[in-house]
């Protein structure tokens, strides 16, 4: 509607098989003003995608098996073209970078990087509007 300013909290989705990792990211993202949804598998991820609009998604490249996180990242990019999709991967090889580009992933991080560091790096990429408690405007 013209003139309506819809103000909503920024939404983040974290997809990882490890509950400890999910918890770490949830804490780091919540601290930075994101409402965070976590998913451990593909069905939960797809369900979350039908229920929310995501501004940021962090996906492990390895869910049930190596590499199965890439298509999830690709589908997130297709469903939410403005979403910053990041992937946690075990290595930064040419093939990993190629998978990232071809799935619309904006950045890859080593899987062992602490959640707080990944979130800080993503916020730096997103710029000042992504700061603590900032609001999504449209």
């Amino acid at each position: 509607m013209a003139g309506t300013n819809i103000s909503q909290p920024k939404m983040a989705l974290v997809v990882h098989a490890d509950m400890g990792v999910l918890s770490g990211f949830q804490g780091a993202l919540t601290q930075n003003g994101f409402v965070t949804i976590v998913a451990r598998d593909v069905p939960t991820t797809l369900l979350a995608m039908t229920q929310h609009y995501f501004d940021l998604a962090i996906v492990s490249s390895h869910l049930a098996e190596p590499g199965d996180g890439w298509p999830i990242a690709g589908v997130l990019h297709l469903a939410f073209p403005k979403c910053f999709v990041a992937v946690l991967a075990p290595e930064t090889s040419v093939l990993t970078l190629q998978a990232a580009i071809n799935n619309g992933v904006r950045e890859i991080y080593h899987q062992s990087t602490p959640a707080a560091e990944v979130v800080a790096a993503i916020l730096a990429e997103l710029g000042p509007s992504a700061g603590k408690h900032s609001k999504k405007l449209q």
Binding site: L78, L97, Q98, I101, E107
Partner: protein, 132 residues
């Protein structure tokens, strides 16, 4: 009926560029070739509009195709930007990721996979324009 999609193919290996031109014309594209980054950048600077810009990386000098990709990424409306290279490295692939290009293919490219990917990206771009 939607118009033919247009593609700029940039490769200093004339035979590669011509082969890709034939492949994409067969796919229904209107294909233009440029045999250097300078020629491509001149075309892109002179108001030529393409739905897809596909560039090699190593031409006049190493990784100069990244400049073609950057130039294409700055255009409005932005074309689908593809790098097709036989010399992918973590350095140039990371640079391509940073530019946020749409697709990275390595030579020898699987032509079916490449044409499928480009057709999909063009359709998505057109669908998003129609929905805008």
């Amino acid at each position: 009926m939607p118009s033919k999609p247009s593609i700029l193919i940039v490769d200093d290996e004339v035979n590669v560029a011509r082969t890709l031109k034939m492949v994409f014309e067969h796919e229904g594209y209107e294909a233009t070739t440029a045999f250097s980054s300078a020629e491509a950048i001149e075309l892109l600077s002179n108001s030529h509009r393409f739905d897809v810009v596909m560039t090699d990386l190593n031409m006049e000098k190493e990784d100069i195709g990244l400049e073609v990709a950057r130039k294409a990424m700055d255009l409005v409306p932005r074309p689908v930007v593809v790098i097709c290279t036989g010399f992918a490295s973590t350095l140039n692939a990371r640079a391509a990721l940073k530019i946020n290009i749409d697709y990275l293919a390595t030579k020898p490219a699987d032509l079916k996979e490449l044409t499928n990917a480009l057709n999909r990206l063009v359709m998505l771009r057109r669908a998003s324009k129609e929905g805008a």
